[in-house]
Every structure is written in structure tokens, then in C-alpha cells.
Symmetry: C2
Subunit: 332 residues, 2 copies
């Protein structure tokens, strides 16, 4: 079964979100733990800045939970940078056993799932998930160097400059991870690397359908359903495709990519993307809202596009993936 | 504790190794399931060739075990290519729930560990681990395009063109994964990207020391200890450093990077490297030898260098990691 029911649902011990200037000016800006003054976070390169955001996210989450690095059994992390250097260089000073991930923009969901599975199985009392993205590192790696000033098509999204970290434990006051659903690679043949939403939406539909099927639930059973970074176009595709499968996603369904920026005020085209988008929204907003009792049960389902510039140059289409977790205010 | 003792040790159901021409001409050539005629494996680009190797490895492993893709609960995979396209494009046709990894050349150990943890916890009856590397994709991504013909320093290693896949199950005739030890990021400041062995050796020492400590064992308790792709120089450093810590590694200690090629006959400098090196040696040679009763218990401890060309250009040193598994012919 694609979905695992966690029989001893791990609790969120703490979470932290770090954002850039644009993220600070968006509607969720006030919820971030820290907003950077500029895009460098005190470093000399953007790649080092991205690592610095992850370091700050982990330090902040540890501090909020009153924990030290040695208290964490395993950390699952990854990012969009080639060879995931954002995470590797961030984590080297902590000495926490590290499983490196590559899930593109689904990484927060993948890491959260694996950390929850480890704690639920008793392999560790505490585990962590971490990820990040940075507009300037992503632009120059995937598209054009930022100083180039190239124009972006209307279907394009804006890679979030943000990092998020969640600490889980076998004891705690919640919210709790009750189910995780591992995604499959889904590729319906979209080849436009400036239209990630359309490329990733089928993967979101695939994983959400599996989750509903495996748990015998439907959208109405959740107070909120949050996909990763599909943006406005991908969100619309998910609503349409899920309706065809008999699921009415309704108003409860939102996309993290549409929540991070004010689309009227901030010119981000279809919305936010990047590992930091869903990680920022989860750790700045969703988890605290659950803890404060705003919602009882949500689905967090970030999506990733598993392409590279090389695969696009070679004419390949864009495979997508979506990893989902059910997060509930109460354990049972 | 860094090491998890698997209370219901998962069994290897089958394994498969695919190699390139050079690997076929090496001392383990006869043990591979399939050797490619050229570097393209029927594809038009080297990146697609690397995916083709992974596909063939998974198909072969499934066939040997008499299984279909739907029988596999989860697959853990990754590779060295930017955004791990080797794995994503290989796996999209199988429809197996996929957790993408980035562990550089330690990926076979990381995937084997996570697949074993999932099966041991009962999250799936069967799980798989897969990885690959390709000399030509790695050279042009990390160093120079192959047709350039640039000279390689004597400390350099040769990225293996190979893929390996292991299928694990909750029942089976062994060999069995009895312990897994998750590595930490270790960085002692080596900055020479042509001397990976020296950069990764400290991580191997760190993980092996943790494994011996956590399990109360010593090198003499194992019939073989196989690090990933440290090559001749890294192997020597591990022997020296472990001796300082009171562990006599002895003749039982070998490095996969020194086993894949004939260093006298094939001019590979310090030996093999790449995810496919340890994956090839494990799945072509180590697991079958265990099944045939040659050894009772071994440690498989592949190492990874978590650098990227960008991190090196920015003057960063090379963080290393090592993920280890104890593999035994008998369950108890």
C-alpha cells in the first residue's frame, strides 16, 4: 500500500521557517521566524546564503524545542542545487546522522514522511526534515543568471528564497503525522520547463487519489489540502482532474505556491515554487495554525519536477512526483 | 544510536549489476549480469544510457526474483547527475513509489539501509535500492567533456559505468541485512576535487567506528569489510586512521574502488569511483558470494563526496559521508 498509517503518530516538536525579502513582503511574511535583509544572509555567494538559511532554520527549530543536535537521531534533507550542496554544507557542522534526499520541490514532504516513518518505527526518538531553495541559485542553475534580466513567460513561477525545518518526536503535544503517502514518478509528456505547474499536477492527482483510496477518506474529511508549488495553473488542473475522478476539492484546497506571495501586489506570475515554498508555508504557517487549533486535520502534499536542464536540452518531458502527509491536531 | 539493529532482518531477494566495457574487462567482469557493448546502451546520449542501465538493472533483479514492479512497495534511488535524472527517468515507467536520494557515491549504502529499515518496520513486504554512474556523464559534469582528452592527475579515480539494484523482502533465504549505520557529514578540509579518496576516508572511519562501537564488534568479527570508492589512497588512510583508534582492519578490509579494475592492466590511477562502483561490486560480487557461503558476515560501507563543481569553484572543501550495512548469510 502506498500510504502508511503511523500507529504511533510522531509529534511535531518544533518548526522553523526562514525567508527572503520577497517572502517577508508576502501575506505570510509575519509568520516566518526570520526574514533576511538581503539575498546573501551574510555570505559571499548565493549558494552559501542558501546553506546559511538551512543552518538558521535548524538552529531555530532546535532552540524552540530546547534541543541540541545530539538529541536528533536522523535528519533528512535536500535541495535543488546540483549535488544538493545547500544541505550538505549546512549540515556538516551539526554532526547529525544524515540521509540526503533529492525530491526536487517535494523534498519537504519526502523528508517529513521519512522522518515520521523512522520515529514511528522506533529507530530514533527524534528526527528532522529540512530543505531550502533560493531564487538566485535556482535561476542561474535552471534558467539564466539573474543579472541577465531575461523576461519570464506568464506560466513561469518564482523560486522562493526560503528554508524550513521540522523536528519530530515520539512524544509531544502535536500536531501529529498520522499517515504518509509515497509518490510515484508521473510523466504525462509536458516538455515546457516554464510550465512546471502543468507538469507536476498529474503527480499531485496521483498521490492524492492514492491517499484517499488507501485511507478511505475524501476531501471533505480534511480542513485543508495543500499541494506543493503548482501555482495557479497547476491548482486549476488538479481541481479539474480530481473532479473527473469524483473528488470535489472545494475551497479547502489551496496551493502553497499561491499562498506565499500576493499575486496582485507582487509580480510573481503563476506563483511561488522551489523546495523553500512548501517548506516555508508548512513551517511558518500550516504547522503553527494546526497547533493553535485552527484546523483539525490537513493534507500536506508538495510536488516536485524531476527534470534537469540537461534532460530538457535532450528533449525529455518533465517527470513529476508528489509526497503527501496527513497532519492532525490530535493523535487519535 | 547511529546504528539500528534490524530485529527482523530483511532478506536479499535478488540483485543485479550492469556494467560498461571497462567494467567487463576488469577482474569482476564475469560476475556482472550484463555488460554493455559500448557506452550508449542503445541510447543517443550518455545520460539516457545511464537511465537505461538502471532500467535494465531493475528489470533484471525483478526477473531473477520472479517479481513484478507492483510487488515492490518502495524504491530508493539516486545518482550523481544533476537533479538525479538517471534515477527519475529510469523509474518513471515502473510505477513504484519512489523516495529519491542524494548520497553521491554512498547512494547504494543509503538506499540499502532505508529499504531495509522500511521492510524491517513492516511498512512494505518488499523494497528496492538502485543507483548508477557513468564515466562519460560524470566527466563532463564534474570535470571536462571526454572528447577533450584532458590529462588526469595520479590521485584521480575513474568513475565506473555501472548500475546496481538490490531487492529486499521480509521473507527469503538471505543474505540478510542485520544492521545499518547512518553516516554523518564529515569534512576535514580537503579541497582537491581530484583526490576524493582522501576527502572521503574520514567519513568512512567515522561510520565504521560508530558501527563497531554501537554493535560491540571489531574488524575481526567480519569476513570482509568493503568501503565504497576510496581507491588506493583512501584505503591506506582508513587503515592508518583506524589503527590509531585501536582497530586492526587487516587483510579482510578491501575497497570497492580497488576491486573493479585491474590496476596493472587497466590505467585507472587510484581506482574506481561513482555510485556504480560500490553498487556494481555489491550486486555483482559481494551479495552472490555471501549467498554461496563464501563469507558469513560482511560490512558494506560505501562513501560519498558531497561536493559540486560550484562548491569547489567557491573554494569550499569536500564534505564526505559513509553509510554502512552489515550483511550476513544467516539471519540470527
Amino acid at each position: 500500500m502506498q500510504t502508511v498509517t503511523l500507529t504511533s503518530p510522531p509529534s511535531v516538536l518544533s518548526c522553523a521557517a526562514i525567508g527572503g525579502k520577497q517572502e517577508g513582503q508576502g501575506p505570510l511574511g509575519g509568520y516566518f521566524d526570520k526574514i533576511g535583509e538581503d539575498s546573501f544572509f551574510g555570505e559571499k555567494t548565493w549558494e552559501k546564503a542558501e546553506s546559511a538559511m538551512q543552518k538558521t532554520a535548524l538552529h531555530t527549530a532546535l532552540h524552540k524545542a530546547g534541543l541540541k543536535p545530539k538529541d536528533i537521531g536522523f535528519i533528512f534533507g535536500g535541495d535543488l542545487l546540483n549535488q544538493c550542496i545547500g544541505s550538505a554544507f549546512a549540515l556538516r557542522e551539526f554532526g547529525i546522522p544524515y540521509y540526503g534526499l533529492y525530491g526536487a520541490c517535494s523534498t519537504m514532504g519526502e523528508g517529513l514522511a521519512l522522518a515520521a516513518l523512522m520515529v514511528n518505527a522506533g529507530y530514533a526518538k527524534k528526527a528532522a526534515a529540512i530543505t531550502s531553495s533560493h531564487f538566485c541559485t535556482a535561476e542561474r542553475q535552471y534558467r539564466m543568471p539573474v543579472p541577465y534580466g531575461s523576461q519570464r513567460p506568464p506560466t513561469a513561477q518564482w523560486t522562493a528564497t526560503a528554508a524550513g525545518c521540522t523536528l519530530l518526536g515520539d512524544e509531544g503535544e502535536g500536531p501529529y503525522i498520522t499517515h504518509v503517502c509515497c509518490g510515484k514518478v508521473v510523466d504525462l509528456g509536458i516538455t515546457d520547463a516554464n510550465n512546471m505547474g502543468a507538469a507536476m499536477a498529474p503527480a499531485a492527482c496521483d498521490t492524492l487519489t492514492a491517499l484517499f483510496r488507501d485511507t478511505g477518506t475524501k476531501p471533505e474529511d480534511y480542513d485543508g489540502i495543500f499541494t506543493g508549488d503548482l501555482g495557479a495553473l497547476g491548482h486549476r488542473i488538479v481541481v479539474e482532474q480530481m473532479a473527473k475522478r469524483g473528488y470535489d476539492m472545494g475551497q479547502r484546497y489551496q496551493d502553497c505556491g499561491m499562498m506565499l506571495y500576493d499575486r496582485d501586489r507582487q509580480d510573481m506570475h503563476m506563483g511561488a515554487s522551489g523546495c523553500g515554498c512548501s517548506a516555508g508555508v508548512l513551517n511558518a504557517f500550516l504547522l503553527p495554525q494546526l497547533r493553535e487549533g485552527k484546523w483539525k486535520k490537513i493534507i500536506f502534499a508538495p510536488t516536485g519536477a524531476l527534470l534537469s536542464p540537461t534532460s530538457s536540452f535532450q528533449g525529455e518531458s518533465i517527470p513529476g512526483i508528489c509526497h503527501a502527509a496527513v497532519i492532525a491536531a490530535e493523535r487519535g
